[in-house]
Symmetry: C2
Subunit: 316 residues, 2 copies
Amino acid sequence: MNEVELIKLILDRLGTAGRDAQLQIGPGDDAAVVAWKPEEEMVVSTDVCLDGVHVPKDCPGDLVGYRTIAMSVSDIVAMGAVPRYLTIALTIEQADVDWITAFADGVRVGCTEADTTVIGGNLARGVKQIAVTAIGSVPKGQAILRNTAQPKDDIWVTGTLGATSLALQATTKWSPRGLSELKRLTSTDVIARYLLPPIRTRFVDCVRECASACTDISDGLAFELEQLVSGSTYGYTVETHEIPLWPGAELKDVLANDDSYEMLFTSSKDKRKVVLISAQRSDVSVSRIGTVLSSSDRIFTPNHDGISSISGYSHF
Amino acid sequence: MNEVELIKLILDRLGTAGRDAQLQIGPGDDAAVVAWKPEEEMVVSTDVCLDGVHVPKDCPGDLVGYRTIAMSVSDIVAMGAVPRYLTIALTIEQADVDWITAFADGVRVGCTEADTTVIGGNLARGVKQIAVTAIGSVPKGQAILRNTAQPKDDIWVTGTLGATSLALQATTKWSPRGLSELKRLTSTDVIARYLLPPIRTRFVDCVRECASACTDISDGLAFELEQLVSGSTYGYTVETHEIPLWPGAELKDVLANDDSYEMLFTSSKDKRKVVLISAQRSDVSVSRIGTVLSSSDRIFTPNHDGISSISGYSHF
């Protein structure tokens, strides 16, 4: 069984323990949505950052701290929600005070940028791993799901894709630098871009104003494109030359294995101008890369051969 | 540095990222409390269940699932709050479908008992570990903290203590049985009592009606007693023969290393009757084991020697 099948199995077994009258959106999307206040819903997501998987082994604490926050906040933003609170569970092999101090520093920088607050956590001895739960808020009924794209909608992506796969290929040559130095290099250096994903909280308004569906890119573009139409009979066409590739990045790598934490979203054609204006207002670049199809076709033009069968990253 | 010192270090480094105008109670108590609705506060706690630490290595999935839920819910109950929602992040070495299925079954049973809903999660390949975030609710201003005990308050504890230390000593002889069989044995069998802690959601009303301070017992009674007076100049006296020991359990073990997830709370002397009635209503036994002192003394009678220096479990 792969990851998606295992999750489905778990949800089946949970039965009524996975359902609740207040639960608007349950497990399966970027985050859950709970009716909590009359005018506002609570959006909750949990993510795990694994040493050697989501960050290189022996990665400095401040970089791990920042990346962990960026990864978690990304799921909330992809719902069109504002991230508010985080809990952080850190397990670590030993009481490495320097690493833990640096980790907390990276968390602080990430939280300040995302305007979120750490409200609790857990510290235990174990294999290094960080589990973060992010809690956000969205006006009632306005959360944006990942699979509600409509035929003829444009498909958009923020920023550029591909730095992360280049960085992973270069990991062995990687020499650690400090958070503040790397922060200045995220638009030019693949390692900086990989370790310090963009925190797209300023893009929340655009998602909510414009998106008919949205997800963040953490498991490769091919996998995330599938999310947009999952559960429907729709398909999509992607113009591969419109995908905003990081210089030197290859399309195949981006499709198979990208965790740039950029936003992938769909929007009605008549909102093209609004998307561009809203994105500019939040200082985020956007690229229109394709269209949702009413048929179930998956078409990549002009280079269909060899890429249509690429699927995304699976832990299992 | 020990666990408590490390957590303090982290909170210091977080600075303003650990503070927020809506945050009534930040990191450090059993759970955080956030002003979210006018009449209700949100209570949030994160816990990690480590394979080989919080559960025996190779423990069947259903038992791990149940125990994980019980551990998490316990922190919310100790705040006098009703557990509502959970997220569960499971990392596991391989796609062991049988184990994962059993785990989900145990989670379902625990959630049903606690009347909580799993709203999200994460699944990844890694060393087996489960991080749970529990979200509860409490009427505005009514959350019960762990360190607000007042001099002359009675000190109470629910249930019986000591089965868990007996079980840990017996781990090598441990033979796994199914969840439903063990559930019937939690009042007679140490292994059953250890693996399947009580889910004290019915006791929430008693905590909120009666307790001046409350915490759950997860790191030994000595450590938890300290929580009741931490940050104050108060102390306590404990009548050791009043501690409700599991048959065969030793006082020293209970003080040093008990994770029975019973509630330890303080209550004004004039509420003694209310405590007893309220506890009876929720079908939970309670024992009055001591008194909060206005002095900073820590007195154990009649067996003071050899136990006053016992501290609780620390991961580091």
